[in-house]
Symmetry: C4
Subunit: 455 residues, 4 copies
């Protein structure tokens, strides 16, 4: 027992209780079979008996059960923001913190989580210049992503640990996405295995795969080839996580609860990762070369992946300035995602829509050389349409989907996508654009304080 891969804390945190649920919410199936030493299985426990012995539902579980029982009907949801409102009542503290956290959080000092706030606010710095009297009976919101036809110009961004919010987790997302032919970018940090998730897809359903490249390139190649075999039709290489950002809501929750184990820490440790805390000398900090994610990822790795994924489009996710969009094009990537990783990595980074504005200002031709995707703070069809006016090919949504599946499972995901599709089409109609191609840069006005990039 002392060799529990998740560490002693996890055991203390759940001692005497049925840990089945939390274990499943963090680990892909098969983890136990693979990790449990021979002879560790000492017997089968009757969960109901355990409950009677005091190992039953704790306060939080009771609170959640009660809230679930009185959840309002999913049909009454009017907009994506409401999924977040509703989900707050049925999420565990750990899930609420993990889903919600940006890089900083302090009640006393409201200037924290700068990027997280800025992302939400940034969409309002773009205003529409609508056109009228344009024969708007017919709207066609179809487009293509990396050559693949899409009914709508948005997709589900990779977001991990969906099972923290709902037992079916990522499978809910897969099912909801199928109902609307919307692309799901499968997270490498998913609480369901890639086999499970790709296994849940319908024959026609398009799924992309988010790739956290491990330091161990043998393992990396194995993972990559496996995802392609499973049917991944594009690879989203995560470029903005050489190290996991400082997510203070999680850290504060941990500080308040001695036995709290960060959900990713538990997952990584189970996977044998050793880089949760970096080894440090005074002023010199290294990440070991056995790290779960390769901190030494570089532009040449695009070619490395290309060789192992012939014919599969590659998209670099987590780009934050025009120079790196240019490099991505130069190194042969098929696309980039302008993203701050949900405001969870470098606090102080610009909102992605500001980066898109920069691309359009400084190098608009680039938008024809490489497909530019964007995510971060998107909640409305109008947000999607604003990004498309400025030249984005598609817009990703993360948190709203997590909240929708947490509260309502696949039905929530489906409802969210339906709302968004209707909003996008309405925004196009009211803006005077019959097709996605009609969404022109001059249909928006960018309002922002003077900004200066020193040189």
């Amino acid at each position: 027992m002392s060799t529990q891969p998740g560490g002693a804390k996890v055991l203390q945190q759940h001692a005497g209780k049925d840990a089945t649920k939390i274990f499943k919410s963090l680990h892909p199936p098969g983890t136990l079979q693979k990790a449990l030493p021979a002879g560790s299985l000492v017997g089968v426990i009757d969960v109901d008996d355990a409950a009677k012995l005091g190992g039953g539902k704790d306060d939080e579980e009771q609170r959640i059960e009660l809230a679930r029982a009185s959840l309002r009907n999913v049909d009454t949801i009017v907009c994506l923001d409401e999924f977040e409102e509703v989900a707050q009542s049925i999420l565990s503290q750990m899930a609420a913190s993990y889903y919600g956290t940006g890089c900083r959080f302090s009640l006393a000092f409201p200037e924290t989580e700068q990027t997280l706030r800025d992302e939400r606010e940034s969409w309002q710095r773009i205003r529409f210049r609508p056109r009228v009297m344009r024969k708007m009976r017919h709207i066609d919101s179809r487009t293509t992503f990396l050559g693949m036809p899409q009914p709508v110009p948005f997709f589900i961004a990779p977001a991990g640990l969906a099972r923290l919010g709902h037992p079916d987790g990522e499978l809910n997302i897969a099912r909801g996405a199928a109902a609307h032919d919307v692309v799901q970018v499968v997270s490498s940090g998913a609480s369901a295995s890639v086999d499970e998730i790709f296994g849940a897809k319908s024959p026609e359903q398009i799924m992309f795969w988010q790739f956290y490249v491990p330091s161990d390139r043998v393992l990396a190649e194995k993972k990559l080839r496996h995802a392609i075999e499973l049917g991944a039709m594009a690879i989203f290489v995560t470029a903005d996580v050489p190290v996991l950002g400082k997510r203070e809501r999680d850290l504060k929750l941990k500080a308040r609860s001695q036995n709290y184990e960060h959900p990713i820490a538990a997952q990584w440790k189970a996977a044998g990762a050793s880089d949760w805390n970096a080894v440090k000398n005074r002023g010199i900090s290294d990440i070991p070369d056995t790290a779960h994610i390769d901190a030494n990822l570089c532009w040449d790795d695009i070619a490395w992946i290309r060789q192992r994924a012939p014919g599969i489009p590659i998209v670099v996710k987590g780009v934050g300035c025009v120079e790196d969009v240019e490099l991505a094009a130069q190194y042969g990537a098929d696309g980039v995602v302008l993203s701050t990783h949900g405001g969870r990595q470098l606090d102080g980074a610009r909102a992605p829509i500001d980066v898109l504005v920069e691309v359009r200002r400084r190098n608009p031709a680039l938008l024809k050389q490489i497909e530019v995707y964007i995510d971060g703070g998107v909640r409305r069809g109008t947000d999607v349409v604003k990004a498309l006016c400025l030249g984005a090919r598609g817009v990703g949504l993360g948190r709203p989907i997590l909240y929708a599946q947490s509260a309502y499972g696949a039905a929530g995901v489906s409802k969210a996508l339906q709302i968004l599709e209707e909003e996008v089409q309405m925004a196009m109609r009211l803006l005077g654009a019959n097709t996605v191609a009609d969404l022109r840069p001059e249909m928006v006005e960018v309002s922002s304080p003077e900004r200066w990039v020193p040189t």
Copy 2:
């Protein structure tokens, strides 16, 4: 009964109660006579008896009755904002929601209803550069609209369903407008019929007519000719409603109340409209060609209207950028209204005063070719004067008039117009402008963050 044009919900909502009041607040007179199948009239009910049987006043009606009894005297109203304050107490939830709603609303996420808020705030981005020592004993606020003399440079914008707030609805507006020789633009979405409203006007009173062009052009022509016969002296063609915007306050109210029927939905259904929900394929959305409002309205329709309304000025209402003002002039319209439809259509659209600033910056000569009107968030005489300095010919008010008539009937409308007239004249006097012609662009300063229109 199963063929009730308003749908089954309306029946459930009002079952067992006297539905006379809500019916009248939504439908022009004669609706029942026209719509009720022969044989449906089964008898006459005694309303007082019905009340005794439990079908009497509900909680909301009692709340409103009480509030009306203690309404402060209309003479104590100091400014237009106060009408809104006062009206909150005497409006039904449905009316408060319908009058107040913009395109988005969420208590938890204050960034919603962007355009609605922006409209109110936008007036403060204009500051005055007043002139002194200019002999200001005499002020003349007279102007002309489309060649017709006006005592003041403002008008009553078309705003529907006035009977939701007061039994006399649009007739109150007509009577109040008459008392001040102020133009009323009669709404096509009025709860009183055009016959009633035009019938209420005094011989000299000038009324314009807002035209929602139906898909059925035979019907369209019939409506147009009827309005002209009734005395409409200008046609305001609504250009910004190819589809009804997403008005979330209404939708949320509906979500909370199973039997709630959106007031416009009820009205449209009664009129036989089939486009409340558009028919959709995946990514392709069409509005049926039987739609209540023609989504395929286009600039050529100006000529179509002109032919059927010879000698009647035509104004395109709902314009949101300088390019469309130019097109309106080019296609022979006599005027445009810069408007966001009260922040109820495309959320994210710019405040109309920002559009006026754009016209003045980019093509000031245009302001001499076509009359430019404006509405949205106007509450003060100073707002009116700011718009005139920038080149507007007239300024429309919607919500304040609805609130004033809801609380006080015609007396409220009259008081509102009197306040506004005095405020306009005071602002002119303090600014150093004896006449409307003296209101010059250099009398204002436009303060706004840097804005960039990509090209």
Copy 3:
């Protein structure tokens, strides 16, 4: 009694009570003797008896008396803002409203009183660029106003009805000003007579006189000559009151209290004015030529005054743009006061410091041709120093002095002036300016959104 010059309301408001106090707070001495018809004096009343008969102190008087009894010591006041805090407790509602009001006020709509708020905030748009290592042992804050030596570069702006706050009213101001050799600009709307105020000055004390030019030029000349005889050493001609602004706090107070009489209305009526409400036709508004203040004041009147006040400097008060500063210089005025009349006249007018920035941007040479004074929202020595850096000769304070005298009489005024003097000298020392001449434009940075004056 029906001919009471203040109107019937005043009588109703104070019926059965001792009206001595409110009468004295509004009228200069001698008013009763002049205005009371022969035979109206029917006897002498014993005030104490009246109190016993129920005509004694009302709730408000009791509240004030109690607050006065526990007033903190004037020596504990740290900054000018505190005078306002303290005064709130001891002012009558009428006084608090009259002193505090700007042109708009609505609790529900925080965007009102735009200019009043903007004035306070505007000072923070100016930031210092301080210089160090400059031998700052010695500071000399002396300057001249219109050629007259001053120990400090600030003065007491004219502000009326000081007796609303304290029985000694303007005399308190005169005494406090004397203690610090600070110029008082005597208000024409003072509740003490000019004779009283000038009578209270010490031989060396410099007082200026604010001139509201009456329509009746015979009366005007009489008033002007009288002020000069009394010792007025400069004339501040009020240019921004062709009509009294719409001061909504006062109007709302009046709306809540049937018998409320606006303090200025009472004062003007007593003086025989007939222009409280202007005579109006539809769209045409005139002020009668018997008006208390001449709405037809014009630039030629500078010469008219000059002839009647030879050798006396003339300053035009209430200027709001660079063009009018230029006209003032051209018409021979010795100075101007950039002012919005405390945010009480044209709401939406720019903050005076923004006008000063405009003068410096567009025509800095003008600052050498004519002395430019400024008031509005000044609360700190740093505010004074900011204005001087930008080219102002002197800075006026209104409300803080009214609040200080209301709470503490002459001692309050003296304390306020002492605080301000110390703050000015400290700001100079920390900024690196030994003398007023060392306060240079490059010592400040003006931060403001882009502003555009259309032409």
Copy 4:
């Protein structure tokens, strides 16, 4: 007793109680021995007896003792802001006020303490332009200050009276700094003596010394030579205190408590200073030439210090515009600190990061001629990295260190420095900078309203 150097108030404030603690928190050791006249020592008191006689713990001491007993573990602190939160509970009112105060403070008028607020907010006007795919396994945060190697690019800014928060005061700081090889700039206003502080340093530990130059240059030279003998490896000459700023939180506390003695006043008086209140004539204000700090400090004094401190780098602390950075370079200083003295001197001065932006805009070459340090409002590793991108060599922290040592002593200081080091390295890794030299200006974007410096 009447000759108590701290004045009679101090005696009244602590009469009948054990004043040992407050005395020690203000005075370096040896003060009593030096200052107490012969014969004043009348006996030795038993502190426990005194407590029994009513001279025991007052309410505040009890409140603090209780809070200290339940202080959360220092290991649970997640970010520097939390030290301030925690410290509020265990600080005396005097300490909280002295540590927290800026130049203005008024609850009723939130625009006060402009510079203090602006400093905190200013860091958010800088946004990152991060680079990805750059091989970030290895991070090296080492740099040099004035030629001396440093593990991290930040230092502990001089901040006085550390003993107000914790009995060990500055010694805590020295010990915490030693644990992380971080430079401490020893405050001249320290509550521990320079001998004590330098005495506490480890052999390798680098300490700099903040120099408040006294008017008495014999004394000045003596102090300077003594600090160098003790091991000061650089002299930070304080340039921004010709007079102590108006710190209103302290003044308000004093106003509320008759016997309150400002902590610096007490300290200065004990040191024989006579300039707490400057001698003033009307409009002319002088500081006596016996002042504790020489108000006549000037650029020539750099040479004066250089002669007496051969080979020791000199840094001018408190610079607020590019012109003074240029002068510092010209007069041979080795560095400057852009600083507003924690928002405690000239309110309205720009945030230091704005000054750094100015230097980079106007004279970027200067950043190679002279080392530019910065402090003010720094709370995050990202703040440090932003300053370095713009050209700062090092970043100082004041208040966070005071709060950390107040709550946790040396362990708090150590924890604070550890957090900051990890944050700096994480920010570098996420930004794409392996070394300090890789932090380039184009990695940030400066967002700020248009600013204009008049000339």
